[in-house]
Assembly symmetry: C2
Homo-oligomer: 344 residues x 2
């Protein structure tokens, strides 16, 4: 079951030329006469010649493919990012190999090693919720594998990074709740080891501070698996709801946490926003048809993917070692809907 294609050799034989002549003719080398080039090109087109990318990769030492590690593709934020990655990669003739860590540290290590041994030319990564140490990535980076981080990034590796303005997004989301008159605002977020968790927490705190509200540790609930385990979110939510001074609003820090929280509240028959208001980070395309429609901090996911890919390809194709790295921070957008509106 092999798929046979025409090779340079076949062309050479057919045209009574040498392999090298054909190769050069195809690449338009000045060493070859116009006439010969024309012949070769014509024959190649006619027989639909496509260079074997594997042979080219072997020769050039570049595979023209990039690896992607995200926690989960089945998620509006990440699928949109991948959409962006794919569009830029395709345009620049790179292949994209996608892998999922499922928020597992083990799988992230396995995937990164598998991808590098599969000789991808570079890596685009968003860290898993379980990841606390990045030695596995440092090792690869030190060996010269270009990488770009997005969303969940690390300070321990000097390279390009692309994130949304998590601080500002969280600040605006929280401030909006404050402005609506909510006072006991809880925050359900991911693993404390993630960069986004910290940044969003800071934005949340600052919004409280600016409004003269005191920050209360008890209103912060961590879900170490970022919502992948429903029970974790359930537990967090239950604890919040059983408090004496139970929160009157919740600010959730990720896509999965937001939808899960809303779903759980609905199951518990708790009215949103009447009994408790909700603002969430989410890129769900259906936030407007949720019950209630969900006020969302939306990240520019597509752009993040595109930008990350652009930066990675820059790194890959750089002639000389790159030493200046960018940390690009893209704006978020607050989409206000019913879930956060104070009942009149």
């Amino acid at each position: 079951m092999k798929f046979e294609a025409i090779t340079i050799k076949d062309i050479a034989k057919a045209l009574h030329l040498s392999v090298s002549t054909v190769s050069k003719a195809l690449r338009g080398s000045h060493e070859i006469s116009e006439e010969t080039k024309k012949h070769v090109l014509a024959y190649a087109n006619e027989h639909n010649y496509k260079p074997n990318p594997i042979a080219q990769s072997l020769k050039r030492g570049l595979s023209k493919s990039i690896g992607v590690i995200v926690c989960n593709i089945d998620n509006n934020f990440f699928s949109a990012v991948i959409n962006g990655i794919e569009s830029v990669a395709r345009q620049k003739d790179y292949n994209v190999i996608i892998t999922q860590s499922q928020e597992s540290y083990e799988r992230e290590i396995a995937n990164s090693e598998h991808l590098s041994s599969r000789s991808v030319d570079g890596l685009i990564i968003s860290l898993s919720a379980e990841t606390k140490r990045v030695d596995h990535l440092i090792k690869l980076h030190d060996k010269g594998l270009p990488m770009v981080f997005f969303d969940r990034i690390t300070d321990e590796i000097a390279t390009h990074k692309v994130i949304a303005d998590n601080f500002k997004g969280a600040y605006e989301g929280t401030r909006h709740l404050v402005q609506q008159g909510f006072r006991r605002i809880a925050h359900i977020t991911s693993s404390s080891s993630l960069s986004i968790t910290l940044e969003r927490l800071e934005g949340y705190k600052k919004a409280l501070a600016d409004a003269g509200l005191t920050f209360e540790e008890k209103y912060i609930k961590l879900c170490p698996h970022g919502g992948m385990i429903k029970e974790e979110t359930q537990q967090a939510l239950t604890e919040l709801l059983q408090m004496k001074d139970r929160p009157d609003a919740i600010f959730t820090a990720s896509d999965r946490l937001s939808t899960t929280t809303l779903s759980l509240l609905r199951k518990m028959q708790i009215e949103v926003p009447q009994q408790i208001a909700l603002v969430g980070f989410t890129n769900s395309i259906s936030a407007d048809i949720f019950h209630p429609s969900l006020t969302a901090v939306v990240q520019p996911a597509l752009e993040m993917g595109q930008l990350a890919t652009d930066l990675l390809i820059q790194l890959i194709e750089a002639k000389r070692p790159v030493t200046e790295f960018q940390k690009r921070v893209l704006d978020t957008e607050l989409q206000i809907r019913d879930s956060s509106l104070r009942a009149k």
Copy 2:
């Protein structure tokens, strides 16, 4: 910026052996003495030797990668399928290269050619909504490229296929609406060239017939781009709503169509299910938090992806040409929620 790794040559040099000896030792050949094998293995492990997959591919003529063409990754059904594909592929040590047709015939052609020239060992495809002819795929299939179709399949290529039981799914969805007392049930569906469109339409018709309701052509609205173009859905919906004997229920045939329809109805301030009921094919993980929660025909997306991948790898690794092909039909599940319930 190249990523350097240890090769067989390096091992050979270090151990004063020939390249061929090292290669055989690594593969455990009986031609090599136990002692030498031990040395080589030890050295290889110590220096973390990984065979260069590109060189192996070139040699073997197999790339250990499979290509995927779906219309859109940013869609709960397809991302779940890809989830399934990825899990099986990874387990069998295949790479997955994902491409999107965005429901465009042109892009489907471009992607299929790009993937085959990228020498994937096989293809997993769900046809785009625009696709009416599959010559581009026939060409590749005839050349010996193994492929498996899922969801949107074609009869014109003899190979394995994986689909959900679209007829039964549509039948049950429609019958449920009938049982709830709805009589004028419209059907918004995709391009008429898609297999799923026909199958679902048949299920819909049969359910009407079995209930003694007459099928009316005017209640069928096609969206040739499968919901990718919002205006198309808008148009279809508007036409339905302006009828004299306007439908009292809608059955939507795809993920995107379902969410878009619900969103539009909401925007038009039409109460679901009071003014019009809704049942949709969808794999949205959030169907339960929609307003109203959406009655859904759910496809076993993950299983479909896994099964398709299993079948494809069987084809790829088959010793002799395969002539018996399977068409696997997986069960759908009807999840009844508020959007289809007759008000008391």
